[in-house]
């Protein structure tokens, strides 16, 4: 089913007799497998409003992300939360949509300093499980009128409602960017270096620790802004980090963009046959957690260490091996059999699970919206 309007969408949901498997561009098959009739949002497409002077853009949920990015670039603006493209990592094809980005709260390296997708989401329109059309938020940057269902919808993977329209805060493009690179650090030293950078006044917009093609550890720190300012801050930050080793400054914008796109899209695990886990943790906890992971794994860190991407042997329940830790782990890629056995999303403590179940029962009383996807 491919509705062409919000009212069509509402009718389809209201009259649905079976569960619906909701999809935007189909590039992010994350979560437990859903058995249901396919409901594609591809027919709800188009930018409805774009005011560069007000830093706001409103688009129908099925609008291709690329269309939005091109439109913004023409006015020297961008999506500051830098949404990851999952196609390389998940081996999917198709066209990512803005609705999919919002439904999965997809952010990139800039999240650590500038905020997540949910932080730039100003408003939503959606159809709940009863087929009611609901709006929340709006298109202004500050809005505390009523409860914030906007945040609740971001990252709810279509399980509370089917998005029909989203409204986003956008930001200016930057003049240039540079990376500071330190090679050969241990995980703990690298995370310490990234913390030092993020704790400096030099406005770091990316802080990752990964490996190059030869397996050499590489810590990367990104600075963005006006050229003089980036040059100045690169120098100051290099001085600040020199106790960690030799700091190379990469100032060619294309090279810098390519470096961070690889990190954003977790390209180092492209085509890797292992299962892929994604952990959000307190940055200083990260090296210790990784040390507890089973042998035969590889990891890469983003968000100053707060985001760990781990490739582990297939069908490994990483959560059981790690035991209790502060944060959460999501199984991003695994066989259908593994995803049916191991919950994709981190199990919640009882009082939280009770609230979550209560909300689902209200927003989707018939359990027809991507049922079971989030557990």
């Amino acid at each position: 089913m491919t509705p062409n309007s919000e009212s069509d969408l509402a009718e389809i949901v209201a009259s649905a007799k079976r569960p619906l498997a909701i999809r935007g561009g189909g590039t992010r098959p994350i979560g437990s497998p859903v058995a249901g009739d396919a409901l594609s949002l591809g027919g709800l497409s188009g930018i409805e409003l774009y005011e560069p002077g007000a830093l706001t853009l409103v688009a129908k949920s099925g609008t291709p992300l690329a269309e939005i990015e091109v439109t913004l670039a023409a006015e020297g603006q961008r999506l500051a939360f830098e949404p990851m493209d999952h196609r390389a990592l998940l081996g999917t094809k198709g066209t990512p949509t803005i609705g999919g980005v919002v439904a999965a709260n997809v952010s990139g390296p800039r999240r650590v300093q500038m905020g997540a997708c949910r932080d730039y989401l100003l408003g939503v329109r959606f159809v709940d499980g009863a087929g009611r059309i609901i709006k929340n938020g709006g298109r202004v940057m500050k809005n505390v009128t009523g409860y914030d269902l906007v945040k609740l919808m971001a990252g709810s993977y279509g399980t509370l409602g089917v998005l029909s329209e989203v409204s986003l805060k956008v930001l200016p493009q930057v003049e240039t960017a540079a990376s500071l690179v330190i090679q050969g650090l241990s995980d703990a030293r690298a995370i310490s270096a990234l913390s030092t950078a993020l704790g400096s006044p030099f406005e770091v917009t990316g802080a990752a620790h990964t490996h190059d093609e030869n397996g050499t550890p590489v810590a990367l720190i990104r600075l963005e802004g006006f050229e003089n300012s980036v040059t100045y801050r690169s120098g100051r930050l290099r001085d600040l980090l020199k106790t960690y080793g030799e700091v190379e400054i990469v100032s060619d914008p294309n090279t810098v963009a390519a470096q961070w796109q690889k990190i954003r899209d977790v390209e180092m695990f492209k085509g890797d046959p292992r299962d892929i886990w994604r952990l959000s943790v307190k940055p200083s906890d990260a090296p210790g957690l990784v040390a507890r992971m089973p042998l035969g794994r590889d990891v890469t860190y983003d968000w100053g260490g707060g985001l760990i991407w781990a490739a582990c042997a297939p069908d490994t329940d990483l959560r059981t091996l790690l035991g209790d830790f502060a944060g959460h782990a999501t199984l991003i890629r695994a066989s259908a059999a593994t995803r049916a056995r191991i919950p994709a999303f981190h199990p919640e403590p009882v009082p939280i699970a009770t609230i979550t179940a209560g909300l689902r029962a209200k927003f989707d009383p018939r359990s027809i919206l991507n049922p079971g996807l989030m557990g």
Binding site: D148, L152, P201, S280, G306, A326, H328, F345
Partner: protein, 477 residues
């Protein structure tokens, strides 16, 4: 302003209820003498007052849970209160309610510079959170004008903003985790020192829920390294419209100042008389602040001044010293107080698309003529968050009602141009009955059902946020 009729059964039961509360709280933590409960009869929306049945001042999450368990069992409404600085009546009690004040929950629990967060009890004031991390040149970004007094609990309840949120975001963008007590006494931990939710984003839902979903007792807040420096520039114009156009041009040019504040002549004059901030006497004044090293500031301000010059400003003055900058901000943050010295006022908080600023300012001027009430404007122009202050005389019969009618018309205008009723103050009781202007029945129902999940008995701050008519059946159940 209609409030629910106090329940006679609860009023009759006061003595027993006080005993039960005293049994679970330290000595002196239950305030029930009518002389003393008057201290809790209103917040900063002083037009409406009602002393509560009692006020309690717990000192731990466990004590909060014990209080809520009792009130839940006895079906007594609870009104959570931070520092009582709400401009929307968020902490206004009813005669049959218990005010739960978090003032004694004011400890710093953990400071972690490597991971850039602080964990505090929520009775702590906004400014003292920044104060606690100042030694290492960090700060907590949201900065409501009431930051000297307002509590983190209230900031979370109202999702407070401030002058600098153009760059740093509002409370919800700087909140990492909470410890919250539900109305039935259940204690939940949501979020923490890590980023983003593992499941549904309940943290985002709780922030801004005006104390209706739970009582937040502890919060993990993001702290940021202070910029190397900051410097404001004052730009004066001879019309509001031109000032509005200048704001739009600054944003369109790809500059992202940390703040763009706007004041009109009535506000400039009152503020000058109050604190002597050194503002020029002009029709409209912008305070634009940028951050960075001295050279970075020079570069950005150079671009901003060039844009401003194209709009023929009557004044263009860069701050020359830290003292001058401080004075400029003191003036802005004292603006409401300055207006309060010369008149009673009602402060609106509607937000509009920045592109509509000139039109809305013009319309407010026309409405001011229609109602015969003066208006002063002081607001966060960069993000379209207006603060028209409508002046009235509380001693003049009918003036408050006239002022409220005027205010309602302005807020409807904000919604009409694509904005909202409130940008950072919250709905409280003040804008409760206008919610139907912005939301359809289904839109409101989707929100009401969230409260049904967190507080099925509708005991937490029950008469706020939504039109009373929309919640009557739920509150009576």
């Amino acid at each position: 302003m209609e409030m629910p009729t106090p329940q006679a059964g609860i009023l009759a039961n006061k003595a027993r209820l006080i005993e039960m509360l005293q049994a679970v709280l330290p000595a002196g933590a239950v305030i029930h003498d009518p002389v003393e409960t008057r201290a809790y009869e209103c917040d900063a929306l002083t037009a409406y007052k009602c002393p509560p049945l009692a006020a309690v001042l717990p000192t731990s999450t466990q004590e909060v849970a014990a209080v809520l368990r009792i009130c839940h069992a006895e079906n007594v409404p609870v009104v959570p209160r931070g520092s009582g600085t709400s401009l929307a009546g968020g902490a206004l009690p009813t005669a049959d309610s218990i005010v739960l004040g978090v003032a004694r929950l004011n400890q710093v629990l953990e400071t972690d510079y490597d991971n850039r967060f602080i964990r505090v009890q929520t009775g702590r004031t906004n400014l003292s959170v920044s104060g606690a991390v100042e030694e290492r040149d960090f700060f907590y970004a949201p900065d409501p004008s009431s930051q000297l007094a307002c509590a983190i609990a209230g900031n979370i309840a109202m999702n407070s903003g401030g002058a600098h949120c153009l760059k740093y975001g509002v409370t919800t963008n700087n909140l990492l985790g909470v410890t919250m007590v539900q109305m039935d006494g259940t204690v939940v931990e949501i979020g923490g020192a890590h980023l983003d939710a593992g499941g549904l984003d309940l943290l985002g839902l709780i922030c801004g829920s005006e104390g209706q979903l739970g009582v937040v007792t502890e919060a993990t807040l993001r702290i940021l390294p202070k910029p190397e420096g900051a410097r404001p520039v004052l730009i004066g114009f001879d019309s509001n419209e031109v000032a509005g156009a200048c704001v739009s041009d600054i944003i369109k040019a790809g500059l992202l100042p940390v703040a763009i504040e706007f004041m009109d002549r009535p506000c400039i004059r009152a503020t000058e008389a109050f604190v002597g901030a050194g503002y020029p006497d002009c029709e409209a004044l912008l305070i634009v602040e940028v951050e960075g090293s001295p050279a970075e500031i020079d570069e950005q301000l150079g671009l901003i001044k060039a844009i401003a010059r194209a709009h023929n400003p009557v004044e263009l003055r860069e701050s020359q010293s830290a003292e001058e900058s401080e004075k400029i901000w003191l003036g802005r943050k004292s603006a409401f107080g300055a207006m309060g010295r010369i008149n009673d006022y009602m402060c609106l908080d509607g937000t509009i698309p920045v592109s509509s600023l000139p039109f809305v300012l013009k319309r407010i001027g026309e409405l001011s003529g229609k109602y015969g009430l003066d208006v002063a404007n002081v607001f966060h122009a960069g993000d379209g968050n207006m603060h028209p202050l409508i002046l009235f005389d509380a001693n003049k019969p009918g003036d408050l009602e006239l002022c409220e009618e005027f205010g309602a018309e302005v807020l409807k205008l904000c919604v009409e141009v694509g904005g909202c009723l409130t940008g950072e103050h919250g709905v409280g009781i003040e804008k409760r009955d206008l919610m139907n202007v912005q939301f359809s029945h289904d839109d409101l129902e989707a929100q009401l059902q969230v409260k049904d999940v967190f507080d099925p008995k509708w005991l937490l701050n029950p008469a706020k946020v939504f039109p009373l008519e929309a919640t009557r059946i739920r509150r009576a159940a």
